[in-house]
């Protein structure tokens, strides 16, 4: 097997492609650094000069205004220059290959590529072909990974629960298509969470999901019992009616988070969601806006986490 392509020869983070395979120390380094950046984002001047003169290219082969914006804010707060490329509608439609696009941007003196792509593994391909001083951050590839989202979830959990070693975390919904779930599961198991649960119908759980280190529940009520953290996943609308699920209504009835179901978790449980939410499909509004919800703080923490990742990676 090849060397982990995310790490350089001295074992430092060269690219962030996946949480899987990252040692605990690096995860903690990112979370700790994010903690310091959280201080910066609370100041009047929310900007540090760390990446002054560096160019960050947001390469979004799959459109996502939301994620792109958080990376853009993070880069700007590090004083980097940000160039947004919505490739979903530009060069790819002209038939330019992925690697040609990257080579072109590289010729424009890029330092950091933030890549989102609909195909699992695309950022690995790019990371294999960039110059040694260039860095790649995966902003979501297919169903594979969304490591900065996973890290901000870890940050949020640590913020509210401090110690990972006694937690029960439930991840609910469409795990099959979820890069967020995969990244979070790897992070939680690496940081020593003793019980990670996957809750969903068989049609939305990937084959052999237990091999990732999770306990599977098809019944949401038993799965939520005594949980400290409940992570709800987004259900894409195109998957609501078809061979995977009969309807959004039936899904909500069995796997939607309501106050009544949440009452089965611990009284101090927190509820997370990577956004954007489908209210009334995977989560009830009263829960999304309720006292257990930390969905908005997640977004705030996301900026600090992305600042931490960018400044660690670009410095190695």
């Amino acid at each position: 097997m090849q060397r982990n392509p995310q790490l350089n020869a001295s074992g430092e983070l060269q690219h962030l492609l996946s949480i899987e395979g990252l040692p605990r120390e690096i995860l903690l380094q990112i979370l700790d650094t994010a903690e310091s950046f959280a201080g910066v984002t609370e100041r009047e001047v929310k900007k540090v000069p760390l990446l002054r003169g560096k160019s960050v290219f947001n390469l979004f082969f799959e459109a996502s205004t939301r994620t792109r914006t958080t990376f853009e804010i993070a880069a700007k707060r590090l004083s980097a220059d940000v160039i947004n490329l919505n490739i979903a509608v530009s060069s790819q439609s002209k038939g330019e290959s992925l690697l040609d696009t990257v080579a072109n941007l590289s010729a424009m003196q890029a330092d950091l590529f933030v890549v989102r792509h609909a195909s699992s593994g695309a950022p690995y391909l790019i990371a294999r072909h960039v110059k040694p001083h260039e860095h790649v951050i995966n902003a979501g590839d297919g169903r594979h990974a969304h490591p900065t989202q996973g890290l901000l979830d870890l940050y949020t959990i640590r913020h509210y629960k401090q110690d990972f070693s006694r937690l029960t975390v439930a991840i609910v919904g469409d795990l099959l298509h979820s890069r967020v779930a995969r990244s979070l599961i790897h992070g939680l198991t690496t940081l020593g969470v003793p019980e990670v649960r996957a809750i969903g119908p068989q049609t939305l759980l990937p084959a052999g999901v237990e091999s990732l280190g999770v306990r599977v529940f098809h019944d949401m009520r038993s799965g939520l019992r005594d949980c400290d953290v409940v992570v709800m996943l987004r259900l894409q609308s195109e998957r609501m009616n078809g061979a995977l699920l009969p309807s959004a209504q039936e899904f909500f009835k069995h796997y939607g988070l309501t106050a009544e179901k949440l009452a089965l978790a611990r009284p101090d449980a927190i509820v997370m969601h990577p956004g954007p939410m489908n209210r009334g499909v995977e989560i009830d509004s009263s829960v999304a806006d309720g006292p257990h919800s930390v969905i908005l703080p997640q977004v705030t923490f996301g900026i600090a986490v992305r600042m931490a990742v960018m400044s660690i990676v670009a410095g190695n």
């Binding site: 650094t33 903690e35 910066v40 100041r43 001047v45 900007k47 660690i312």
Partner: protein, 166 residues
């Protein structure tokens, strides 16, 4: 080689010197890690009214391009208004002046202070920037290839030590 000065013995003199210039509005900021230890002691000795500020200049360093981001930067906490204030900036050892440059840049992202005075325990010379300390515990000669560092023992006692530069 001359013996290094005793850090603990330098503290009262330094505190006395500072005592003459502080007012109730004066605030103190210690730079991680050694400067923060020193500032904690001086802050207590002086009985300053304003809470102590602590600063990590990791995000303002000028060697990021070469060295990357330092592991585990501490969170900067400045629990008072910087705007218009008289500040005492505290570090353990003054050498090239680059740390102080970074600290002043960071400070100005919090506001425009009325004045900043630099307080150090030891000045080892070798400045690369036009910076000097207003209050200095001792001048120390450091042999080539060595580094002067402040250490804190388990009982809280401070001491200056030489170690090989990395």
């Amino acid at each position: 080689m001359k013996k290094l000065p005793d850090a603990e013995a330098l503290l009262p003199g330094l505190a006395a010197e500072l005592g003459a210039r502080v007012s109730p509005a004066t605030a103190m900021i210690g730079l991680y890690t050694g400067g923060a230890w020193l500032a904690e002691r001086l802050h207590a000795l002086l009985g300053l009214k304003q809470p102590l500020g602590l600063m990590d200049i990791a995000f303002y360093r000028d060697d990021y391009a070469k060295e990357g981001l330092k592991h585990d930067p501490k969170r900067t906490r400045i629990p008072f208004e910087v705007e218009g204030r008289d500040l005492l900036l505290v570090d353990d050892v003054l050498y090239t002046g680059r740390t102080v440059r970074a600290a002043m840049n960071e400070l100005f992202d919090y506001g425009r202070p009325r004045s900043i005075a630099l307080v150090v325990l030891a000045d080892r010379g070798g400045r690369q920037l036009p910076i000097c300390a207003q209050h200095c515990g001792a001048q120390v000669e450091v042999p080539e290839g060595m580094r002067l560092r402040l250490k804190r023992a388990a009982d809280g006692r401070l001491s200056l030590e030489l170690e090989r530069a990395a």
